[in-house]
């Protein structure tokens, strides 16, 4: 099958990057009715690196991740994973693509009819057909890794606090050692110490397991710890991106305002 012009252009763009691109987004647009959320997002995530996306609340960060995962179909644009077009794939191809991804949802999205360990083992048992007892052991190991006691595994999600649920969601996202992991606000709702544990875990996933990570966070301390690269989204575009070391002298008034949390600046609070 020949590539569409959009895909072809995006492939050229991915090839021009300094580092091999694991994920390449070109001109991704998404609108909901009158709400024009993504207005042409271009983003590269280098293989084996951790990219953090920052940006105001409601700027479409979660929508962007869902577009990459194929949970929301973008209106336009190209999304390449290892140079392979993923927009409009479905069925087996989509399922195969999904098995390379891990996702921590902003609201944890745990299955409330299943126990905590079954949640964590879910992808292993159903997606990868790992044997149940072995999956349980892996799940308990991941539950410990996110700083929870093993006994928590036999509780139901509704019996956990918000921060605990978030950590279970994280354990579920990394349980199958995916190649590409998406973290939607991994440290929101956690105390500073636990947040640091989780940051460490994300760094381990990238450095030890060689995963590529795309995280969203509002927590600048967390961003500084886990990011190799930072991108800032505003009004549907990526307005700045660069290595984490450049964050403090980005030269962008938007980034300055955001990282210092000032109410005054180019980003209008009441749109």
């Amino acid at each position: 099958m020949t590539d569409s012009p959009v895909t072809a252009a995006c492939k050229i763009r991915a090839a021009q990057q300094d580092l091999p691109a694991k994920l390449q987004l070109c001109g991704v647009r998404k609108r909901f009715g009158r709400n024009d959320v993504l207005r042409g997002v271009d983003l590269t995530v280098p293989a084996g690196k951790s990219l953090v996306v920052i940006g105001g609340s409601g700027t479409g960060k979660s929508v962007m991740i869902k577009c990459i995962l194929g949970l929301i179909a973008p209106d336009e644009g190209s999304i390449l994973v290892d140079g392979e077009e993923t927009v409009n794939i479905d069925g087996k191809a989509r399922s195969r693509m999904m098995s390379r991804f891990g996702m921590l949802f902003q609201g944890a999205a745990l299955f409330d009819s299943l126990k905590v360990w079954e949640n964590v083992a879910f992808g292993l048992i159903h997606g990868r057909h790992v044997e149940k007892e072995q999956a349980r052991q892996t799940a308990l190991e991941k539950i410990r890794a996110v700083g929870l006691k093993e006994e928590v595994g036999d509780l139901f999600p509704a019996e956990l606090s918000g921060g605990m649920q978030k950590r279970v969601g994280l354990a579920r996202a990394i349980a199958a050692n995916p190649e590409i992991i998406f973290f939607d606000e991994p440290t929101t709702g956690l105390d500073p110490i636990m947040a640091d544990v989780i940051n460490g875990l994300i760094v381990d996933c990238v450095t030890d397991l060689g995963a590529t990570a795309l995280s969203i966070t509002h927590d600048m301390a967390s961003a500084r710890k886990i990011a190799d690269y930072v991108a800032m989204i505003h009004e549907g575009h990526i307005i700045w991106h660069g290595p984490i070391a450049d964050l403090d002298n980005s030269g962008s008034a938007y980034v300055e305002q955001f990282i210092h949390g000032r109410a005054e600046g180019p980003i209008a609070v009441n749109k």
Binding site: G70, G123, R172
Partner: protein
Amino acid sequence: MKNKILVSFQDFVRSPMGQKTQAATEIGWEYVLDSCQAIGRTMLAFFAAVGRLTVFILQSVWYSLLPPYYARHIFRQFIDIGYYSLPVVGMTALFTGMVLALQSYTGFTRFNAESAIAGVVVLSVTRELSPVLAGLMVAGRVGAAIAAEIGTMRVTEQIDALKTLSVNPFQYLIAPRLIAGTLMLPILVLIGDIIGVFGGYAVAIYALDFSPGSYLSQTWDILESIDVVSGLIKAAAFGLLVSMMGCYHGYNSGRGAQGVGQATTNAVVSASILILIFNYILTQIFFS
């Protein structure tokens, strides 16, 4: 366009006599155009909804037939949909059979036709009342529960989470419910048939002084297998309808608690109405 109408309406009200006709025609045209647009929009939304429902039905049937089958989930739905509906369906059938005997007695004694009561009870129960009333009861109990559960999963992103874990929500969530609905309702209705006929029998014997032997023989004489079988086939269709509507409205639930509430209401109402419509169609097919 709304603004324009408003403006021309104000012109119309304020204008001196001479301008009246021109303003009036403008209002007329605007109004026609506006209503055409509204009708067109409604039609488009209607066809879009029909298309969405059709695609959903095809997808869910297709994935119900394809492996993997989640046996444990199917079994759990058997219990949820079948076993736990037994009390409701049993009570409905019992009192329906009882009241049928009572009502037909008060009517039929006027024509000295008491011997027809057993037949009226057994035919009404097996052909119509047991399947329809069980269907409606299950629509309220199970249809609502399915819509609320799947709707909540949609709203809390659990359905998205299923997809990211390479599990097809149609196979994992929807197929077990459709299978259980279709298989369990005939069993419920069969039990309802027996209880309903028993209810009529009990009233006839204990309240109306019929002789047990002749009541039973009249029942057996008139009953044919098509009466029961048609009722069971209806039941299977209603079971499929109820779970399909629950799944469809839940799966397409709007956002937030309000969306889930709306989905639940829609599931129950649409399932109930479809049951009545399909009951007519199936009766037409079986008995004409």
